[in-house]
Structures are given as C-alpha cells and as structure tokens.
C-alpha cells in the first residue's frame, strides 16, 4: 500500500488556507498602539554632492515628529559586506562604508538622504516634499567598462570604481591560457546577463518598537533571515546588544534573495523608535521597491570554450564584469565569485577552467543575490557557449554534452573549478529527457509551425548548481564572515504534540508542511500535531534563514538531528517505564516496545512521563523532552538537470512564444513531490521572465528607465506554457541525513539558456544563420533587429 503521510507524500500546503482566506499576517498588517510613520527623502539624481539639507520647513509641518539626515548617523557603523574577496594580487576588496542615510554624497537614484517621522503616513510624505536639499549633480557612472576607466569615482575615498579583480583559480590561469592557445577549436561568445528587479509581491516593510522601561527593541521586518538581520544591526550598525533586540519576520510575501539583506530603513526605524519612544512604521511603495531593493544579475561576460575537433572539452575561460551598484549589499561580493566561478566547470570533465571577475561600483542600486545567485550566470555562459560550439562543429547539442559529462562512476568528482561534486548521473537525466520529449517528432512540429509562417526552435540545456552553501570551516577560509549552519529545536509538549522551532524562514517555500513530514516520519506522530515556529529571534534558535536553496538540506538536517536526540532520550524514558534495558527497546511507528515481548508504550505516554516525572529516573535523566541541534553541512549539495523547450518565433514581428518546456531534475530524495514541482514551476517562470521579458535598464544619467510595471515586463500566466516536470532521477546527496539537495532555484538556473538556445535554433532554421546570439531579454524588438541586422 502506498504511504499516505510522511516523506515522499504530497499533503497540501497547510499554510495556504491561511493565505488564501486573507488570514496571513505580514509586516504591514502589524499595527502597534501609538504607531508613527516614516517616509524617506530619496535622491532623484544618480550621483551628487550634498551641500546642505534644509529640514526646517518640514520640521514645522503638521504631525511631524522628527527629521533625520545622514549627519545623525555619521557616528554609527556601516552596513557591511558579508564576504571578503581578495583580488588576484592579494589585495583585499574595497569596502566603502554603506551608511544608514547617505551622507556627503548620494550615489544612486533612490538613495535615501533624509527621513521624516510623522503621525500619519500622508503627513510624513508631505514633509518629505518640503525638505530642500542643495545637491550638486555629478556625472553619473553607469556603464561598467566606462566606470573602470573613469577618473571620477562612486566612492571618492577608494579612488577606483573596481571593488576587486578576482581570479579563480589563479594557479590554473597559465595552463588555461596555454590550452586555449593551442586548442584545435575555440568558440567565443560575448554576452550580457541582464539586470533584474526582484519584484517580490510584498514590498519591504519595517516597524520598530522600543520599550523605555526595559530598553528592549522589537523590529518587525520583511526578512528571509531574522537572526542575520539582528546580527548585522547589532554587531555592525547600531551597536544594540543582541539580547536587547528581537527581530520578527512574520509572513513574508516572497523574497527571491532581495530580503536576505539588511537595509538602512530597518536601522532608521529602530533609531527613530528609541528617540521618540513610539513605534515607527515604514512600508515601501512599489516605486521604492524598484529603486532600492537589491537588484540581481548584471554581468557582462566573454567566455571561451576550447575543444578538440570531436568536441572533447579542453578549457573554459571566462572574463566577467559584475555590477555591484553603488554600495556593497551583504552578499554582493560572494555572488559573482564563489557562487559563480566555482560552477564554471559545469557537469563536465573539462581539465582547465579559469574565471576572472571584476566587480564594479556604479551609480545604480546595489546588486546582490537573486534566485540562483551566480549559478544562473555560470550556467547561462557555459550552456550558451556550448550550444554555439555544437553549431560550429555541426555536432548534436545533446551528444556534445554527453560526450563531456562526468560519468556516474567518477563521483565524488573534483571539478576543475574547485568543487567536489558528491553525486550525480547526468546521462540518466538526459535519458529521461529523451524518454519524455518526443525529439523524433520535432521535425514534423517544425514543419507545422512553418506552415503558419513561424520558425520553430528546440533548445537543450544541462545544469549543475551548488546549494546549501557550506561548510563553515571552508567558507571561513574563503572569506565568509558568517557561519553557514542552521538550527532546530524540537519541543515535545506534555500532551504529545510537537513544536519545531527552525532557523529557516518560509516566505513561500512551504516549511510548515514539509518539516512536519520529516518529523512525522521519524516519530510516528501525525503531521497535523506538529507545528513549525519560525521567523522570531525570541522563539527560535540562532539560524541563518532561507536562501540559496538551503532550507531542507541544512535546516532540515538540523531537524533530523534534533529529532534523533528526542528519540534517544525518549528511548531511555521508555526503557525505565517498561523496566527493560535501553538496548532492548525498539522504536517503530510511534511505539516503544521491548524486543521479543508484547510490552510497549506509546510515544505520547513517554512524552507525558517526561513532563509529569513521577516514577522517573531523575538520577540519570532530566525531565522534559526538548532537544536542539545545530547542523553544519560537510559540502554543498549539487542538484543537476536536463532541460528542453520548443519555441515559435514570428519572423515578421520577432515575437517568441514558448510552446513546451520540460525539466528533468535530480534533487536527491524528495520529501514532498508536489511542493518540489511547484518550486520548479516558479523557478522556470522566473527564468522565462529573465530570458524573454525582464530588463532593468538605467539610462546614461543613471535614471532607472524600467521603474514601474509600465516598462518592466513581468512574466504572466499567458506567457508561459504548461510545464512537464520530472524529478524521478535520484542520486541522493551523500553527506546529509535525508539525502536531499535543493530545488528552489533550479528552474531559474536551468531555463534561461534553454530558451535562448531554442530561439537561436529557430532563427537558424529560417536561414538567419548570421544570428549566433541574442542578449536577454530576447524581446520581439531584439529578435526582429537580429534577423534584420
């Protein structure tokens, strides 16, 4: 009989009832007695010197309680980068201070240089309009190549716009260069990985409260990782003792990376709440989200693939400029380096890999990790140049990839880009893809499209990614300034139901459903009697939140370890209750029994005994049944996949439509197949958005042209096909207890090159063989221009 609960089943997401009936509780839903409102004065120029700020008129306006400028925060710390990157010459990266409010200069459109607190949000906004700043506009530094050559600087004190010049692996550089020089064939491709605005459905919001009696602060904020936010605010920015600041991230409506980071608005509302002894609330408008949420991607890359005439890969060499924007956001330095360069060997047995990344300051919003964070950029570069290579050598794109795949018997495999892949079977993924997709029928489908005046293309892609970033010991050596473990506390209550406090944070992932499946499987307790607690530093152990597809692989492992401790202690209690030796106790289906007898006690009885410890071995055991585990992984996990899609191109208008999309992924063991499928659907949707629609664009003056939904194209349901998703190819992760990998970002990593490969294929079929590449988004205008160039 198939299982009807626990690991491998698909109970519906229990949190959805709450969300769908309007009972979610988001930061903006929290209203405190005596609450006041913050509004920010934001720069309308990309680069300018602040000569003076006249706040007097604003201060005298109705309802205004306080006005802050950068001067008020001149003596507090800056918001730091979480990862130190050293340049090729050994010099540490440039780290200009990122202040709470801009001071001295404004550095991007939207950079906040003053804030108003007022009785109402409208009064605060009116006062914002009354603040007069004398700002001398300076030439905007927007284009990365120009920035590197420029004599004017985003940050004058560092006298360069280059944050770092990183080589990976520097010792491999000479060999890679030599291999490319002598290779029989080299394919070269220049491409742009387009800049994206995250567009979480819920805009950022923060409400701060201060208790003058105790000196305790509470910050309600839209964070993917409340403990990290607390650490940054306390240890680096405001200096509040950690035990005096409670950070609560209630329901959060999507993050995609943009809510990992600490932002100045959080520090401002905290400082204002203390000054006024009143709660202070701020909720971003959508326009503020466009201007100030950390953007994603924005790489300009040249990649070279050297190979034998038969397609055997010899080397990949990548030169990338990565935009970090005006300030270093918390993970902005690791994203284009260790989350990108280390993946530049792909799924392949290529012996030589070298990656150079120059990170560049510009007068644009900060850029940081966005769904996939570095791995989509790596996959896109690799899989586009491989596709171009296949075309140049007239090789089948699947066969070229298969020829170079790491084979199943080669794991664990040390890649030429410095990672050790623990498990994978890339040929099996393509076997499955070929089983699902009717490649044989493609010619007929293409002919059918051509009858309607359309060109049809087939795109193939392979990816590997690294998620659940770890281990702390290694990343520390590589420059990380935080640990990358996670934590869970399993609290069995006296009546047998269970609270699980997790360091992971759910902002769409479905933790409230999935973690109980794991605990239920282990304890034999019904899923519905297990509740997940997250998002409140006063309730949960110190965890690192959710990003980088880490929740299950890292925090889920902590849940397993804590639950094992529960079983261990409960077994001791049961042995006492059953008057048996601990070694004779079997635990199965929620029941402790003495081997070879019919004597048993239920898990609930043991729990009750732990809290009503009459007749209890007090000399050996403490009462209570609550255990905490911290889990620090031994390695990344390495999901991989084989993707295919078919597109139709209207050559008269350039319009691309995605006709089919198939994703075959190896996520290791799967806890809830329905939720995994949903994660893949969402990731592909975002990937198709990047490939066809989304384009964050600044003009030469640093004005954001795509600053609203009138100009920033989001994917809609009508733009997307029905997907075929398969995750039946499983190579379990070898180093975590559940054998799981991560699934949250895979779709966004694997889909963009699949789409662009298909578009190029379509154009070639129509005789437009001069088109070897089109930069994303592959918009109708760009396709038409490429055809007619």
């Amino acid at each position: 009989m198939p299982k009807d609960s626990g690991i491998g089943t698909s109970p519906k997401r229990r949190e959805d009832i709450r969300f769908l009936t309007g009972n979610g509780k988001y930061t903006d839903d929290i209203n405190l007695t005596g609450q006041s409102y913050a509004a920010f004065v934001r720069s309308d120029v990309a680069h300018g010197k602040i000569n003076s700020i006249d706040t007097s008129a604003a201060e005298n306006m109705a309802g205004v309680l306080a006005v802050f400028t950068g001067e008020d925060f001149a003596d507090v710390g800056g918001n730091p980068a979480g990862w130190l990157i050293n340049s090729r010459d050994g010099e540490p990266m440039k780290e200009p201070k990122r202040p709470v409010l801009a001071h001295g200069k404004v550095r991007h459109v939207g950079d906040a240089y003053a804030a108003v607190i007022a009785e109402t949000a409208a009064q605060a906004q009116n006062a914002v309009d009354a603040i007069n700043a004398d700002i001398t506009e300076l030439p905007a530094i927007v284009d990365m190549a120009t920035a590197l050559a420029s004599g004017s600087f985003v940050h004058d004190e560092i006298e360069t716009n280059q944050c770092f010049d990183w080589g990976w692996i520097e010792d491999n550089r000479a060999a890679t260069d030599a291999a490319i020089r002598s290779a029989p064939h080299v394919t070269t491709l220049s491409l742009v990985n387009n800049r994206l605005v995250p567009n979480a459905m819920e805009s950022r919001a923060s409400t701060a409260d201060y208790d003058p009696g105790t000196g305790d602060y509470t910050l309600y904020t839209t964070s993917q990782n409340p403990h990290l936010t607390r650490l940054l605010i306390c240890a680096f920015v405001l200096g509040i003792p950690e035990n005096k600041l409670r950070v609560v991230s209630p329901d959060v409506g999507g993050g995609f990376g943009s809510k990992i980071y600490h932002y100045g608005e959080e520090a401002l509302v905290l400082a204002a709440a203390k000054k006024l002894c009143r709660p202070v609330k701020w909720t971003a408008s959508r326009s503020e989200s466009f201007l100030t949420d950390a953007h994603g991607r924005d790489h300009v890359t040249k990649i070279e693939l050297a190979c034998e005439k038969d397609g055997t890969f010899i080397a990949f060499r990548t030169d990338t400029m990565a935009n970090v924007g005006a300030y270093l956001s918390n993970f902005s330095t690791v994203t284009p380096t260790f989350l990108h360069g280390t993946l530049m060997a792909g799924n392949y047995t290529v012996p030589n890999v070298y990656v150079n990344v120059k990170a560049v300051f510009t007068n644009t919003a900060p850029v940081d990790a966005y769904r996939g964070a570095g791995r989509p950029e790596a996959t896109y570069s690799l899989e586009r140049v491989i596709d171009k290579c296949a075309r140049e050598l007239a090789l089948d794109p699947i066969e070229l990839r298969r020829k170079n795949f790491i084979k199943p018997d080669q794991f664990p495999y040390a890649s030429a880009a410095g990672l050790e892949y623990d498990a994978g079977n890339y040929d099996a993924l393509f076997d499955k893809l070929e089983e699902i997709v009717d490649f044989g029928g493609f010619k007929a489908r293409r002919a059918e499209s051509e009858k309607g005046g359309k060109l049809r293309g087939l795109g193939i892609n392979s990816y590997i990614e690294a998620c659940g970033i770890a281990p702390s010991n290694l990343v520390g050596i590589l420059g990380a300034r935080v640990g990358l473990y996670d934590a869970a506390t399993v609290r069995v209550n006296a009546t047998g139901n269970i609270s699980v406090m997790v360091g992971a944070h759910s902002h769409g992932q479905g933790h409230a459903t999935v973690f109980p499946q794991v605990v239920s499987e282990m304890l034999g307790v019904e899923e519905n009697s297990i509740e997940i607690v997250h998002g409140d530093t006063s309730k949960i152990p110190f965890g690192m939140g959710s990003y980088g597809s880490r929740s299950l692989a890292v925090c889920g492992s902590a849940v397993v370890r804590a639950t094992e401790k529960i079983i261990n202690k409960a077994t001791k209690i049961a042995a006492h209750m059953l008057e048996a030796s601990e070694s004779d106790i079997d635990f199965k289906d929620g029941k402790f029994s003495v081997s070879g007898t019919d004597k048993s006690v239920a898990f609930g009885e043991v729990a009750f005994k732990a809290y009503v410890p009459h007749d209890y071995p007090h000399d050996e055991l403490e009462p209570g049944l609550e255990e905490t585990a911290f889990y620090d992984p031994a390695n990344f996990t390495y999901p991989s996949g084989a993707y295919a899609c078919e597109v139709e191109v209207d050559p008269e208008t350039g319009q691309v439509t995605v006709e089919s999309f198939t994703a075959v992924d190896d996520f290791g063991n799967v806890i809830n197949p329905m939720i995994v499928t949903g994660q893949v659907h969402g990731g592909i949707g975002q990937g198709i958005g990047q490939a066809l629609l989304e384009n964050c664009t600044y003009d030469e003056n640093g004005q954001l042209l795509s600053a609203s939904y009138m100009d920033y194209a989001m994917p809609r349901a009508s733009d997307l096909p029905f997907y075929t998703v398969d995750h039946s190819c499983v190579t379990p992760c070898t180093h975590n207890p559940l054998g799981v990998k991560g699934c949250g970002e895979a779709g966004a990593i694997g889909s963009p090159p699949t789409i662009v490969n298909a578009v190029v294929d379509a154009l070639h079929s129509g005789g437009h063989t001069h088109v070897t590449h089109i930069d994303m988004p592959v918009s109708p205008a760009r396709v038409w221009s490429a055809i007619n160039s």
């Binding site: 309009d129 066809l692 384009n695 939904y709 100009d711 194209a713 988004p777 109708p780």
Partner: protein, 260 residues
C-alpha cells in the same frame, strides 16, 4: 496621493457646474488618472466622477451608426458587439478589471499615444460628441495627450459609422501590454481607412498611402512592398523607430486579412 474632494453628479449639467471650479478634474474610469495621483504627479482638488451620469451610458445601434455613451466601459462596448473591429478592440484592452472600469470617453479625452480607442475613432471617422459641439475624429486628435477638447468639456458620446468590414490588430508592449503598435482597418463603401496607434510621436495617425492602395485592392498583398516613414516614430526600451514602422506594415496586412 494628496487629499481631494469627490463628487458624483447624476447629469451632464451638474457635472459641468462641478468642473467649473478651479483645480477640478473629470474622472472617467480612472485607469490613468488614479495611478498618476497615487504617484503624486497630479493633485486635483476635486474629482468629478462621470460614472453616475446615465445619459452617458450604453451602446445604441441605429442603422449604420453606433453611438456609444462617453462613460461606457470597455467591457460594455465589447458586450454590445456593434462591429468586429470595435468589439475586438474593446475586449482586448488591459484585463477584466481595466475593462470594467475604463471608459471610451476617458480614453479618448486622455489620448494616450499607446491607447487603443483613438485608432478606432480615427479609422471609423467617428464623431466625438461633447456637451456643446460635435468634433470630427480627423480634427479631434492633435498629438500625444492633446485633443480638441476645451478645459471644461465632456465627451458625452462617440458616434461611429459601422464599416463593411473591420479589424484591429494590437502588438502589445511587453510590460504595460498597451499597444506597442495598434492598427485599425475599416472598409467602407467609399474607401478604406487605416489608423495607427502606439507608433508615432505625434499620437494616432492615418496611414494614407495604405488607405489609397487598399481602397482599390483590399488585400494584404497589396501593401506588402509598402513602408511607412519611420522618422517620427517612437523609439524606446521596447522598440526602435524602424521596428515600429515594420509593425505598422505587418499589422496592417494582418488586419486586412482578418477583417470581417
């Protein structure tokens, strides 16, 4: 958004009185005005809603003329099914929420260069009926966001002669889903009219060369070799002048092929 007063008169006369005060602004369906106010880019002291005026509601088909009340929503124009081009155009504006708020009078008064209705009005040689005069469509549209309307003047109705066949082809701007280019083709006994929206820096216009050719040979093939001057086309994030000029030709051909 700044504070404002709101009135909802029940007839045109009361609306004109309300609009006579300084800083008053007529409100149709609010699909442009309300977002503009939310951005604090407009700050009328008083909004005069036209949605309560029953004499400005509804679609009347009499003989070869369709008369549409100025406050009629896109959804109701689509439902009325007056003629194919108009029905398709109205049913394709925005999404259901937009179509159930936005009005034909609001759209024509605003004259957004990427709006759909100006193409229908111009291609059908519509008469724009206001509270005190009637204006030919050829005289009404005077460039982006500019019309022949006076300060206090309300579009009470739009009259369109029903064409023999017609079609509207819209190529959507990928973000806003407004018309990147929209072409309305209307065939009458005395000739063909082709109106183009979305493409020009001067707003909606008639492609007279194509009209001439199509009036003698109403087929897509007839305009295959033609091109429209791109010099005054819009160039932006979503397409160059040349791309828009191409779309004008392509969509005109498709409108002719699809016209019924």
């Amino acid at each position: 958004m700044y504070n404002f007063d709101f009135v909802k008169p029940l007839n045109v006369a009361d609306a004109l009185v309300a609009l006579a005060s300084e800083e008053a602004q007529a409100l149709g369906g609010g699909q442009t005005l309300i977002p503009t106010m939310k951005q604090r880019l407009a700050s009328p002291e008083k909004l005069v809603s036209l949605s309560g005026i029953s004499e400005m509601q509804g679609v009347d088909i009499s003989g070869n003329i369709v008369t549409i009340g100025g406050a009629t929503t896109h959804a109701n124009v689509a439902l009325a099914g007056a003629f194919e081009g108009l029905t398709g155009l109205a049913g394709g504006i925005g999404d259901p929420a937009v179509r159930n708020r936005g009005t034909i009078g609001g759209s024509l008064a605003n004259n957004d260069p990427a709006a759909c209705y100006p193409a229908a009005a111009l291609a059908t040689g519509a008469t724009i009926v206001t509270n005190d005069r009637e204006i030919d469509a050829d005289d009404y549209f005077q460039g982006m966001f500019t019309t022949a309307l006076e300060d206090v003047e309300i579009i009470t109705a739009v009259r369109m002669p029903i064409p023999q066949v017609s079609n509207y082809q819209k190529f959507e701007q990928p973000a806003s889903r407004f018309a990147l280019v929209g072409v309305f083709v209307a065939k009458y006994a005395d000739g063909v009219r082709v109106a183009v929206t979305g493409a020009s820096e001067n707003g909606v216009f008639r492609w007279s060369e194509a009209e001439g050719v199509l009036s003698t040979n109403f087929s897509a093939d007839a305009i295959l070799g033609m091109s429209v001057d791109s010099s005054e086309m819009i160039s932006d994030l979503h397409g160059t002048k040349e791309y828009r000029a191409n779309l004008v030709r392509v969509l005109t051909g498709r409108a002719v092929s699809s016209a019924s």
